[in-house]
């Protein structure tokens, strides 16, 4: 197994309720490799198994068959070694904790001293431009701010792999574009590898170094499209190259859906 891969998946299969009448094969014969520092977006028809793939990678559920290794370890081992930071569509903050204490949560579980974790949490909030809101409760923050706290929390323990499942899906277009720029900034500053699930083709193109297109259920990676934009600043969205990439991904997705 190559050591220079963060994630290596081969022949992955996941069947829910195997052997029963309600058995569902969500993923079958799926291969995917991710190198360090890559930003890979996964896009595919609704219900094809994107979230399932992410949960398999994160070691939250076990595959039925196939190989999956993260930094050369099994997903379970990687999870126990805290290799993952996860961000879901719902920010999932604990509403009885202030923003800074939410960011501290994983550090607390890992036994960091109060002083160290407070310092790190403050640092992370700064990274997501929320330094002024450390002592606010989630109920006092907007949806976008909550999601930024959730990103800060996921990054606080410097995971080698950031797993994001439609993290901006619940946000309005303006906030969404702002968050995309923020995420790119964070990605550059932290040297993290990101796997990012989205329904938005422009979002995938803008953020990623590579877009992986999934087929309908049982899902596999049907196509991988490298994205090569000259710079990833907001105005790149209005360039010819950007449109070309978006259109390429769209055509691929369409052809995959009608296979």
């Amino acid at each position: 197994m190559a050591q220079d891969l963060v994630l290596e998946i081969a022949g992955l299969e996941k069947t829910f309720n195997p052997g029963r009448a309600n058995a569902v094969t969500a993923i079958s014969e799926l291969d995917l490799s991710v190198r360090p520092r890559e930003f890979v977006s996964i896009i595919g028809p609704s219900g094809c198994g994107k979230s399932t793939l992410l949960r398999l990678v994160g070691g939250l559920i076990d595959p039925t068959a196939g190989d999956l290794s993260v930094n050369g370890r099994s997903a379970q081992e990687a999870r126990l070694a805290r290799d993952y930071g996860m961000v879901f569509q719902a920010a999932g903050l604990l509403d009885w904790r202030t923003a800074v204490r939410n960011v501290e949560l994983p550090l607390e579980l890992m036994g960091w001293s109060k002083f160290r974790r407070r310092a790190r949490a403050k640092e992370m909030l700064e990274l997501v431009d929320l330094d002024g809101f450390a002592s606010h409760y989630p109920a006092e923050l907007s949806g976008g701010m909550q999601q930024r706290v959730s990103i800060a929390r996921a990054l606080s323990f410097e995971p080698s792999l950031l797993l994001m499942d439609e993290p901006f899906g619940a946000l309005d277009e303006m906030t969404r574009e702002y968050m995309q720029t923020e995420l790119l900034k964070i990605w550059r500053e932290t040297a993290t590898t990101v796997i990012f699930i989205t329904h938005s083709i422009p979002e995938a193109v803008f953020l990623s170094t590579r877009v992986a297109v999934m087929s309908p259920r049982p899902a596999r990676i049907a196509a991988e499209i490298p994205i090569d934009l000259p710079e990833r600043a907001p105005q790149v969205r209005d360039t010819e190259e950007f449109f070309r990439s978006v259109s390429l991904v769209r055509r691929t997705l369409r052809s995959v859906e009608h296979e």
């Binding site: 994160g58 939250l60 999870r79 126990l80 999932g92 604990l94 009885w96 579980l109 323990f157």
Partner: protein, 299 residues
């Protein structure tokens, strides 16, 4: 902080409303009495007042001021006043209720945490927890006292009768705490649980950092119900088991002497009401203390 001053103002307003409520209650009582006297309900030809509803004479409805004056009266010349007797009884009953309430809360939470571990345990045990509450309290109270006197000699401390009454309060408390506690412990979203899993959090860490704090908003309504139930249960338990020293015994005594002094019974009943209010008040204060820090300003 504007937040704090608004909550303080709200509290002052609530106190004021409560005082007005008491005055209105006293006025209604007095008004009903005056009306009954005016229409002379002793004749019993007035179809509601005096027959269907209580009669308004001083035996059945002592004047409000007489009841208030009774607090300072002593049954025997120079002896303890009725107010003092009631206070002592209330403190005795409150202790029984508080000990039982505390034990019931711990047991209830323990049951909830055990049932949380598996769906099968929940399905298997919960019906019995619910069935436990169909046992009539009045029937088991004397049994508990007898059992306490004879069967608990193995305990390292001496078992007193009042502890048996506490046990009744425990019995009434553990149930709502277990049922609501379990719902609260199960309330975190699947995402929150998966997040904890992704941090490789152990079962105990999940319980302490996620499930227990999430259960508090579910737990407090149960605790408020349990607080009143504990006081009422303690009073009923004292009466039915014949335990001396508390409000239950006092109510029984005063009811026996109702003909010679009905005001006393009213004093004891007011004492019982205040005791219940104190119990709920303590729980509500704890709730404010614990939940007000959540940013959502608790009512």
């Amino acid at each position: 902080m504007t937040d704090r001053s608004t909550t303080r103002r709200a509290r002052t307003r609530r106190t004021l409303v409560f005082a007005v409520f008491l005055v209105v209650l006293a006025l209604l009582y007095t008004g009903y009495k005056a009306f009954g006297q005016a229409v002379d309900d002793t004749q019993r030809d007035w179809w509601v007042v005096g027959s269907f509803l209580p009669r308004s004479d001083d035996k059945n409805m002592p004047p409000v001021l007489d009841i208030l004056a009774e607090f300072g009266q002593a049954p025997r010349e120079g002896g303890t006043t009725i107010g003092r007797l009631t206070l002592d009884g209330a403190l005795f009953t409150l202790r029984e209720a508080a000990v039982g309430f505390a034990a019931g809360t711990i047991i209830g939470l323990a049951i909830a945490v055990v049932l949380l571990q598996s769906r099968r345990a929940e399905r298997g045990v919960l019906p019995y927890v619910i069935a436990s509450q169909t046992v009539p309290l009045i029937a088991i109270a004397p049994i508990v006292v007898v059992w306490g006197r004879t069967g608990l000699e193995f305990l390292p401390w001496e078992w007193k009768d009042w502890m048996s009454v506490s046990l009744i309060a425990t019995y009434l408390t553990f149930f709502p705490v277990a049922v609501n506690g379990l719902r609260g412990l199960q309330s975190p979203s699947p995402e929150a649980s998966e997040l904890m899993q992704s941090y490789a959090a152990g079962r105990r860490q999940v319980l302490r950092r996620l499930q227990l704090p999430a259960s508090l908003p579910y737990l407090f309504p149960a605790l408020r119900i349990a607080a009143t139930a504990s006081v009422v249960g303690a009073i009923v338990g004292e009466i039915s088991a014949g335990v001396r020293g508390g409000l239950g015994r006092l109510i029984l005594d005063f009811a026996g002497k109702y003909i010679t002094g009905p005001e006393r019974l009213y004093v004891a009943i007011i004492g019982a009401c205040i005791t219940g209010l104190v119990a709920v008040g303590v729980v509500a204060a704890a709730e404010r203390l614990l939940l007000a820090r959540r940013g959502i300003v608790a009512q």
